[in-house]
């Protein structure tokens, strides 16, 4: 460890001004009890030390404060949010005399496994009605729903599938369940798709749509305004205090620390996502991370900062879930730079991200959606006998 680094990590005043010891000790212990799924290397503090050593001295204070501000969410805690959502959904349905689970249908965004957990927790919160098991087994995601509508659009549709779609349209409540709504984009896309299918209902019996997220941010709440039939439900609600990119950021005690963290994120973003750098062939053979360019380019096309300093849609969160780090959190937490050109700083991220999750857009949802939208009149005729 270099002298400069030694000097910094013995800077007691800085440690105390931001409560660094308690924060990092807490995160180290929490992560020991519930290890990050894709971590490589030692415990959190060891990874931080390795990481700090690779950053220029002027950014190490900002880096250390940033690492101390991580909001780490263990699976056990996230599972608990499902209980809370089950109770909240129960309250809303009870107020409208909707019997659960029979008169509702739950669609998952990305994680169909969440449905089983929700039904399990729902039972403990008085969801006493009968579950339409086969329907819920067959139609677990919005993608399944689109496929079903696609099947009903076939020249000679299977009557059982037509009936399935009718049954779904007869439900009084559709719940769109997601693990994380951080910028709200994925949920909004799925909710819009559901809305299009909802249009097929008979007038006067349209299901209400309720969005429920284990982790919800105010940013997503803004994005989801007007989507669904009421305010989205959140198990954990992160307000703008949790965003480094917000004037309300409350993650640090001192404004000078926040400025240092922002400078650090900017430096990192410009270094690794800057336009001049992105233009060069920078992915050497054997690089361990996936090519992140399409994501960053899409982020830019949506008006995001060119250097991607605060992550997807400039959200600027420091949230890390046990199973993965979201792209809405600042990239310096999850973007590995191992295998990059030698003149750059070589390091593994403290929470390296796994990009394995397939996005629905990439797997044909958009095509199906277009087909369903175009075939609306035919679908209505098949379902209800007239347009």
């Amino acid at each position: 460890m270099g002298d400069e680094l030694n000097h910094m990590i013995s800077d007691v005043k800085f440690y105390n001004s931001e409560d660094i010891v308690a924060r990092i000790h807490f995160l180290t212990k929490l992560e020991e009890a519930a290890p990050y799924h894709h971590r490589s290397g030692g415990n959190y503090w060891t990874r931080i030390q390795e990481s700090l050593a690779s950053f220029p001295p002027e950014h190490r204070y900002g880096a250390l404060a940033l690492f101390g501000s991580v909001v780490y969410l263990p699976d056990m805690l996230l599972d608990e949010t499902v209980s809370t959502l089950a109770a909240d959904i129960g309250d809303i349905c009870s107020a409208s005399n909707i019997s659960l689970p029979g008169e509702a249908h739950v669609f998952a965004v990305d994680h169909p496994g969440l449905l089983d957990l929700l039904y399990d927790r729902g039972e403990k919160h008085g969801w006493t009605g009968r579950l339409d098991q086969s329907l819920q087994r067959n139609i677990r995601t919005v993608q399944d729903m689109l496929r079903l509508a696609g099947a009903v659009l076939a020249p000679k549709p299977d009557e059982a599938r037509v009936q399935e779609l009718r049954d779904l349209l007869h439900k009084r409540m559709w719940v769109l369940l997601t693990d994380k709504a951080l910028s709200g984009g994925s949920v909004k896309s799925d909710a819009t798709r559901l809305d299009a299918i909802r249009e097929l209902s008979c007038a006067g019996s349209r299901p209400a749509v309720l969005v429920a997220a284990q982790v919800l941010t105010v940013r997503a709440l803004e994005e989801l305004k007007g989507v669904g039939s009421g305010e989205p439900l959140g198990g954990l609600l992160f307000d703008s205090q949790f965003s480094i990119n917000s004037e309300d950021c409350g993650l640090f005690r001192n404004s000078s620390t926040l400025e240092a963290v922002r400078r650090f994120c900017d430096w990192f973003g410009t270094k690794f996502f800057g336009i001049e750098f992105f233009g060069r062939p920078w992915l050497p053979k054997g690089a361990r991370r996936s090519d992140f360019r399409p994501t960053v380019e899409r982020h830019r096309s949506l008006g995001g900062l060119a250097n991607f300093a605060y992550g997807w849609r400039d959200c600027g969160f420091t949230i890390v879930c046990e199973d993965n780090a979201p792209t809405n959190s600042v990239p310096v937490l999850w973007y590995p730079t191992v295998g990059m050109k030698p003149d750059l700083f070589l390091r593994e991220a403290v929470f390296p991200r796994n990009d394995s999750r397939p996005r629905q857009a990439a797997s044909g949802a958009t095509t199906l959606e277009t087909r369903v939208a175009r075939g609306g009149t035919r679908l209505r005729r098949t379902l209800w006998g007239s347009s």
Partner: protein, 346 residues
Amino acid sequence: MKELRQSEFISSVGTRKRPLLFLVAPNYEPRSVEAPIRLAPELSQLGVQFAVGVLQLQAQAERVEPLEDLKNLGKTLLLQSLHECQVEPIMETVQYPDGYSPVGFQRFITELAESTGPNPDILLDISALPRRILVTAFRTVRDLQVKGALGCLYVAYTWAEDYPSPTQPFEVGTLKAVELDCLLSDLVSEKGKVCKECWALVLPGRQGFDGRQLVDQLPPTRHVQVLAFLNRNKLLRSLDMLRANVSILVDRAFSVGYYLTLREAHSKLLNWAATVPVQRDTAYLVAPFGPKPLIFCAIEAVDMVRERIIEQRAENSRADMVQLSGHHYVSTYSEGIGDLSLFVWE
């Protein structure tokens, strides 16, 4: 325990058409008078017949003068507000903490309930009531309900906007078994009344040291469950609480869980009480260091374990709540006025 929105509470009180006894205790925290200031005009407008009992807690030995002045300020605000609603409050001074008499307090509630009208409902504003007094209040209300002298129990709790950091305790209190009225160390020591073994449910609080202090005093054969609160409306503050309790939250010897709403905590407490193995020579402890409304849930959990101890004739076993006693503040304890939560105990 069911949480009500303010409109639901008002509508519930209106529908029941019973007189309402409203007990409040102004202290030096601004939040201590928020519930009556917000609710009294609405109740008055609705035509609910209600009486307001104002408890003035008075320390004898150790008065902290600046806090006394703040307390008087709160009381003045409250009285002005009640005056505007044309409500004449009934004032009662309660000696606390020194000289506190549960019997006297019990008598006050009983007499006030009788004078409010036939079989009234009661609304307890617990925002500023010390936990020890809450135990007496809950027990008294339950007794009166059993006798048919009281109807529904409503609870109001105004959350703090924030807490000063760090609070300066005048003295660090000792842990006591509240109703057995003995030091925790006496209860669980070799020389003590029971306890080769202990089952404890800890709801960590903001200060952190109390949870650690508790588990460190337990006998070697201990089974500790820790339930930590993440207030989903105040996550940043909740993270401070988690950090303050890190040593018990990450101790692999303990079973650790979380709750995001008080309703869930209530259900987990009762579940613990219903499933904890009851056996002889064992102490069962519930330590509600977390949000105040959980005191009542803790009492219910303790009662449930006590019933099981009696049913199963588990000799020499005891169940009680553990609280920090003798903890005296020389700060305003909390800052600002947060959300108002209302509950009905069914």
